[in-house]
Symmetry: C4
Subunit: 203 residues, 4 copies
């Protein structure tokens, strides 16, 4: 559907380039992207600004290394968040979050419609790759679009797998999970996964 | 399949325009629509009248602001209805029903084949956006087709999400759910979701 | 995949016309159908006979009104059968089995590879529309192909819905279920559902 | 995605021919296959070697009759492995593993990146058709590609079916499961299933 949005840091430091509101992700071309300033003004591009632009501006303000962030509302993530249990490393997917965990956003289940709510989200996210937003969805952040998108997909898949399992009995030790994350989700692996999707979309 | 139907209020007050029976939703063109009078007579159009026309005539009789109503039988809605638990606001989808709740139709699990059964359904629905029909399906109603269809989709998704979660531990407060509903499901948002689907079907 | 088969009674009483083995259902044309005698001899047609022909010959021998029978192995049916609980009328789909219930085949979980095993299956099926074959699949039977296929689909959907619900709390009374079955699954409704699929396949 | 790999024993005994890394299974042609020696050297072909080549070299070293092995990461297999319960023969699919069971790999949940870890996997696999790799995925092995691929698919389906059932009450006796396996998964049946997929891919 038309909710959910991706933002990329403006290389000239003016703010973030975001998907315009009212469009599905798969409809986006260069004509449905807007440059939103750090204060929420539309500086360039066509289309309407999403109400929740502070998700992206505040995460990028707080995390200088982040250049891409993504907000979506997967059913399985909302089902998982409603259980208030930790994400367990029962798959490679879940292991991507071994180092920083998957924090939960506490300030609101409503839209992140003010800079203050965006700062609270950036605070809860901290150094993590992604954050659960209970009753709402998720946000993921990365050093580039490949990382942000992969983290969002991996979190969605990890939540679905743990929901399917139910009461988990067997899992990797914390130490092994950290070792796995470094190997399985090295930058080259993230890039390989991303390039595969880019190729499939080009078909 | 061929069960389930959508109706739209006749602008001249003669009754409702309904999908004809025997066709799947995706097969419907202007040639498979019939005008059904308030008493169930076919006044215009081609095709057979669904037995359950009183669902639509009685809801529109009871709710002057409603101009579209939709009846379907999603598996996940029937599974959810069998549990006799309230729908919880664990996603944006479920929040759409925060103000009026999702009432349950009690008169029958059989087809709504008389005006009396239709009136009982309209009574149980009351001012709500949608009503569970246990062992049968759902009905949704709105000020236009966009609202009726969106409410049906949101209810189906909300039931699926809560079934996936199981025993819900974390949810939005009633107060926040109401605030969310006003913002997330404002008319412009319903319209944006609907227009997206219309575009996708045109592709 | 290539397992599962449909049979139709030979109008001249020589046996049953069956899908040949080694092909998927969607690959079948007039060239992959064989006439199998009541004793298992291939009398006409091209292709190999399925080992389990006695499913069809023995059901049709025991039920003179049956002219079509179908055997498949849906995952959800096998999951449901493993629970040893009755099918509950929590949807229109499940209500199709209100009159005769859904019996269970007890003689074997292995292939129905002899006339004796086929007779035991026909005995367990009795007058019902379909029979669970635990650890194996299902068989459905009807007065024509439309009925046999619809009963198989309805049973698969009913099992999936009840699995999704889990511990069912609310259901139709036995009396209402019988009334519903007569109305919802009248011959004209079965035919309407079947004709819809035939149209979709022709697209 | 691009993880998971299939290997085939080199007919001249030099090692295994493997899918190259960085590609999805459906992208593979003769140009994305590499010959990996028993010590991990790339002897022929284009593309990068997967880190986990010891899965294949060590299984084929330990099992002279195996000529094909497959490693994938299905969600349902990871969910099932996290429960630490045995696979039950509640479907034909699960029965394929009746004779040897489905052992679990214990040495690591991390990548199988050394010959020693590969030998430990071959030890845990023993004579079985497939092995669960908890928090990671599965490996399957067979006398040809048809068997290896079918065993991987059957294990994935069997895990999904048992997850859907939950607490299994009814199942085949061990004796019957063995009889079923011999009949249902005879070589000719494996080949028939495989040839069906080959035909579908050619369409």
């Amino acid at each position: 559907m038309v909710w959910g949005h991706l933002a990329v840091r403006d290389p000239d430091g003016r703010g973030v380039w975001m998907k315009a509101s009212g469009w599905g992700f798969e409809e986006i071309t260069r004509d449905q992207i807007v440059l939103v300033s750090w204060d929420g003004d539309v500086l360039a591009g066509n289309g309407k600004r999403h109400l929740e632009y502070p998700i992206h501006t505040e995460i990028m303000r707080a995390r200088p290394e982040v250049t891409a962030s993504l907000h979506t509302h997967p059913d399985t993530v909302n089902a998982f968040s409603a259980l208030d249990i930790p994400l367990r490393p029962i798959s490679h997917d879940a292991t991507a979050f071994a180092e920083h965990g998957v924090p939960r956003y506490r300030a609101t289940a409503n839209l992140v419609r003010t800079a203050e709510l965006g700062r609270a989200l950036a605070d809860d996210l901290g150094p993590a790759h992604a954050c659960l937003m209970p009753q709402h969805g998720l946000v993921a952040a990365g050093v580039d679009v490949a990382h942000a998108v992969m983290y969002a997909v991996l979190l969605q898949r990890a939540c679905a797998t743990q929901l399917a399992a139910g009461d988990v009995k067997v899992l990797t030790s914390d130490e092994e999970a950290l070792e796995k994350a470094a190997l399985v989700w090295a930058d080259a692996q993230i890039e390989a996964g991303w390039q595969y999707w880019v190729r499939r979309l080009s078909d």
